[in-house]
């Protein structure tokens, strides 16, 4: 029995170590491969050279990615938070609740390229919206909603039911209790869920490729303009064989942005007023 227990401990320790090593390995690999091209011009400049992208920088792609990530995060975060609040605190009908959860699970299982195709056919072809920052952000919002909602729902469920009822028993209505007690209590988890959703959106190439991203553009000046996106730029650099070095640099920048967003969201969560 002791032997079995030790083997099990060894197995879980190994699993944890492998996961950590893979994450660290990817980051270090990209760092060593991509660091050579990192320079102020690469971060702050626009793509140049013949073919385009072999020289210069990726600033429009960084700006575009941050912009559609932020918009999708705001839209997706608001919708997901409200859906999760409804599921946890308002929906008393178990059938309705299971339908909504089932719909979310189905949505979560749709491949990003199919979500992109839907965005293209519904927004661009059907509603005649231009290929733009807004079309891409809405498409990405659809993609990340189940991802964020399910996590926020779990976070809200972890908040003690007794706290919720403790507040109601003071005569305080549900709405106030949720806004002033439950959401602040779960703020850290909500921010973590949101950051995961945003970085998931920022890393997706297929949906933006169909709905708004282009090979070259400046920083978008409005929601109706097309934009450059880091994952799509990376795809073009590799797929067209333009520059593998620039592709590694782009991937490293994307990875650092993802890390920074995670850190910022965690810090925001830890500054919660409780």
């Amino acid at each position: 029995m002791k032997m079995k227990d030790s083997l099990f401990k060894l197995w879980v320790l190994l699993s944890g170590s492998i996961v950590t090593a893979v994450a660290a390995g990817i980051f270090l690999y990209l760092f060593f491969k991509g660091f050579a091209v990192i320079s102020p011009e690469f971060i702050l400049g626009s793509p140049r050279g013949i073919p385009l992208g072999t020289e210069g920088g990726i600033f429009p792609a960084i700006a575009g990615s941050l912009m559609f990530g932020a918009i999708a995060g705001i839209l997706g975060g608001a919708l997901s938070l409200c859906t999760a609040v409804y599921l946890v605190f308002y929906c008393k009908n178990k059938k309705i609740s299971s339908y909504i959860l089932h719909a979310l699970q189905c949505l979560a299982g749709i491949p990003s390229v199919v979500v992109g195709l839907f965005g293209y056919s519904f927004l661009i072809v059907g509603m005649r919206m231009p290929k733009s920052l807004l079309s891409a952000s809405v498409t990405l919002t659809i993609m990340i909603i189940p991802f964020i909602t399910i996590r926020i729902k779990k976070a809200l469920e972890q908040t003690s039911e007794e706290q919720f009822i403790g507040s109601l028993s003071l005569g305080i209505p549900r709405g106030y209790t949720i806004v002033k007690l439950i959401i602040p209590s779960s703020f850290r988890y909500i921010m973590t869920s949101l950051s995961l959703g945003v970085v998931f959106a920022m890393g997706a190439a297929a949906p933006v490729m169909f709905t708004g991203a282009v090979i070259i553009s400046g920083v978008p000046s409005s929601l109706s303009k097309p934009f450059m996106a880091l994952p799509y730029h990376l795809y073009i650099l590799v797929n067209e064989g333009l520059s593998v070095e620039m592709a590694y640099g782009t991937a490293l920048v994307l990875m650092v942005i993802v890390l920074l967003i995670n850190i910022i969201c965690r810090l925001m969560g830890s500054f919660e007023d409780i």
């Binding site: 007794e162 706290q163 009822i165 028993s169 003071l170 005569g171 106030y176």
Partner: protein, 249 residues
């Protein structure tokens, strides 16, 4: 003459098709402590939670009549019912805020924005709960860092901030040691001059020490009610006698 503040008539509570309480008729006298005793699962807590309609939050359905000073609570706004009939639960449920914020949470909702008045409220109710001296220098400390007994007294203080007339307590000392239990009992005896108190307890000694009136429940029915001395020394119903004798042994 007895002044009745809260009264139930043919009160029934059910969860789905399962009846938990059957036709409970009982009156609660103003500024008295009423203890509800009975075996586990007899419906004591459900009964308590029905008195300010908290039971509805758990999916319970109330039928029959509950009158608060002659007004049917089903006709009153829920906010009014619950800030008039406050509730304290078995486990101390402090909010994950500072001690200060726990006590200003409800007053701020009810419209009090003046900082000095909020400060007064905090001091007043901490003193009333016998907690002020212990926490006066740490009002910004997260309330979850208080001991179990301190948390329960904070929860009672928080309940008082909405100026209730009645306080319902569901086994408030079950998770506390003797010292903290004594603190709470002393506080309840002091509070009864201003509030009507209804307490569910498994601790017959506690009921003896603090209650003016005792209600014995069994199987969702009210078996017997009366002055504490009579219930403990000469119960009329055999079931009450058997329960008290069993608990004594």
């Amino acid at each position: 003459m007895k002044e009745i503040i809260l009264k139930t008539e043919k009160l029934c509570v059910s969860y789905g098709k399962v009846n938990i309480l059957n036709n409970i008729d009982v009156s609660f006298e103003k500024n008295k402590i009423t203890a509800i005793i009975g075996p586990s699962g007899c419906g004591k807590s459900t009964f308590l939670k029905s008195l300010n309609r908290t039971v509805e939050e758990y999916g319970g359905k109330i039928s029959g009549k509950i009158t608060l000073s002659e007004t049917d609570i089903m006709d009153m706004p829920l906010t009014r019912v619950r800030n008039t009939i406050g509730m304290v639960f078995q486990t101390p449920v402090v909010f994950p805020f500072s001690i200060y914020k726990n006590l200003t949470y409800a007053p701020i909702y009810y419209g009090e924005k003046n900082k000095s008045k909020l400060d007064e409220t905090v001091v007043k109710y901490l003193k009333r709960a016998g907690l002020y001296e212990e926490v006066k220098d740490n009002l910004d400390m997260n309330a979850s860092r208080l001991s179990g007994g301190q948390q329960q007294r904070l929860v009672i203080a928080r309940c008082l901030t909405v100026n209730p007339e009645i306080i319902l307590l569901d086994e408030p000392c079950s998770a506390l040691d003797i010292k903290n239990t004594a603190h709470i009992e002393k506080m309840l005896l002091e509070l009864k001059s201003e509030y009507t108190i209804v307490i569910v307890t498994h601790n017959l000694a506690q009921a003896k020490r603090i209650a003016d009136t005792v209600i014995y429940m069994e199987g969702g029915n009210l078996i017997e009610e009366g002055p504490a001395d009579e219930i403990f020394n000469s119960p009329v119903d055999l079931r009450t006698k058997e329960y008290i004798d069993y608990m004594k042994n």
